[in-house]
Amino acid sequence: MPEPMLSLAGLVKRFGGLTATDGVSLEVRPGEIHALIGPNGAGKTTLIHQICGALAPDAGSVRFLGRDVTHLTMHERVASGLVRSFQVTNLFKRFSVLDNVALAVQAAAGSSMRFWTPVVRDRSLFDQARSVLARIGLADKAGVAAAALAHGEQRQLEVGVALATRPKLLLLDEPLAGMGLEESERIVHLISDLAGACTILLVEHDMQAVFRLAHRISVLVSGRVIASGAPDEVRQDAQVRRAYLGDELAEGRAA
């Protein structure tokens, strides 16, 4: 078995009396799409925050590519290839679509302590940004302000901005949130497309999408991982069925 790309060991996060993350241990293997599912309030987003460095855990450790990153800042983790997207669309709204992606490319390209040469002359920056746009299917919207995009397109751009930093592990926090059927389909295709290029940890509510995409699934309930394994194992797991999946699981199998 290959060494895990990301491993969480005994992560704990408390907010006052509430234990949002209750001793989570989890492994993401290189190259897989690993889905993290769980009912609302299970602590998925809190967990994502601890993985990407927005929140410091009260106990436990986060290892990425064999290195302990528990105490690294967010930008240090991004530099090592651990990048997130956001559940609520979080873009540079007044920037054009192209500039949104170009800024991410620039951030990944090393120090921006350059004070003289205009960015617009930076061909390679914008070439890379355009190729990301082509990949996420927004090439024809390059000049549009991010705020002016339709919701579905903003979700695509959300993934694109994260992608532009050349992640090794991409944390996708509910990429399908609030999307129509057709838009969802586009994102699902995009994610399965990306799978070759980077490892993905996918937090998602849409069970159909999860069972179509994921190589492995972990189930988070009340801050604990109650099951982790291949989709079929998770589907059969009695504890999971009781705690969470129920009817939705049946739907997932029917589809």
Binding site: H75, V78, A79, V83, F95, S112, M113, F115, T117, V119
Partner: protein, 310 residues
């Protein structure tokens, strides 16, 4: 806006000749004053409009620059080549120290903490009896520039100020459009996203804060040369407020917002105070009208805001 900048520069170069022709030499002094404040306001605009840092203590750096020149001259160092760079460096260091602490806060807290630091420095200078305390420190003359240029001449002084302000504006224009400026504007637009794509937000904001402080220090060094008095009032919070009004008036986040704001505000003051001692009332009315009509500043009327390449 290179299409406007060059003709404007030509106009400013020709201005003293026009002023001489109409026999009103005082206007050269006024023009220098406007340029100096244009520089100070532009440095604040860098922080607010590009870096997203609403500093309410910018006068601290302006005043620090002024006092650096005054204190050096008090101790016999009157060379502009020493005193002016010293003013820039001391102000930049002050900004680095204040920024390093203040930038751990956000929003209203940032406004309050920068204000508090500026007031602290104000009281430091008030209490320095050796350097004039409350009354300020008056200068025996202007800095010595050498090169056969005598800054005592208001016209020579004007051209030196114009050259420095023009150069700084060129630097500023390059900076905000370079990678550094792009990152800054990304932070201003969406700080959490900037961090999520790997931008060390604090580091860039601190460098920006220091650059803004350095520019304000240069403006202060020029201002004290013109007025001949380094007074604690230069650091008072009302001075910070005036710089902020200039920026808001001209247009936050427009490269020439500070320049236009300083020009309009100081000209308004000049014209109105000719007519009445209650000129501040008139100024208030005009400012109110401008803010109501153009909430994003005067430049927003003529130019659509394009934040990514402003």
């Amino acid at each position: 806006m290179p299409g406007v900048a060059l003709p404007a520069l030509a106009l400013l170069i020709a201005l003293p000749l026009v002023i001489q022709a109409i026999g009103q030499p005082f206007y050269t002094v006024l023009a220098s004053r406007i340029l100096i404040f244009a520089l100070a306001a532009s440095s604040l605009n860098l922080l607010i409009g590009f870096g997203g840092m609403v500093s309410f203590g910018h006068a601290a750096f302006f005043g620090t620059g002024a006092y650096t020149v005054a204190i050096l001259m008090f101790h016999g160092v009157d060379s502009a080549w020493i005193a002016w760079p010293a003013a820039v460096i001391v102000s930049a260091l002050a900004a680095t120290a204040i920024g390093a602490i203040s930038l751990h806060t956000r929003g209203v807290y940032f406004i309050m903490i920068t204000l508090a630091f500026a007031q602290m420095i104000y009281y430091v200078f008030v209490s320095l009896k050796m350097y004039g305390g409350d009354d300020g420190l008056s200068l025996p003359g202007r800095s010595a520039l050498g090169l056969g240029l005598d800054l005592k001449s208001d016209m020579v002084f004007y051209y030196v100020v114009l050259a420095l302000v023009a150069m700084t504006m060129v630097l500023l224009g390059r900076l905000v459009n370079a990678r550094f400026g792009r990152v800054l504007q990304g932070i201003r637009e969406n700080e959490s996203r900037a961090a999520a794509v790997g931008v060390p937000v604090y580091r860039y904001q601190l460098v920006c804060f220091a650059i803004g402080g350095a520019m304000a220090g240069l403006a202060g060094a020029l201002a004290v040369n013109q007025s001949g008095l380094a007074s604690p009032n230069l650091l008072y919070w009302t001075q910070s407020g005036m710089l902020m009004i200039m920026v808001i008036l001209g247009g936050v986040g427009f490269l020439y917002g500070g320049v236009l704001g300083a020009t309009v505000l100081l000209l308004l003051e000049e014209v109105l105070s000719d007519y009445t001692i209650h000129w501040q009332l008139g100024e208030g009315v005009v400012l109110l009208a401008i803010v109501l009509y153009a909430p994003n500043g005067l430049l927003s009327i003529i130019r659509r805001k394009a934040p990514a390449d402003a």
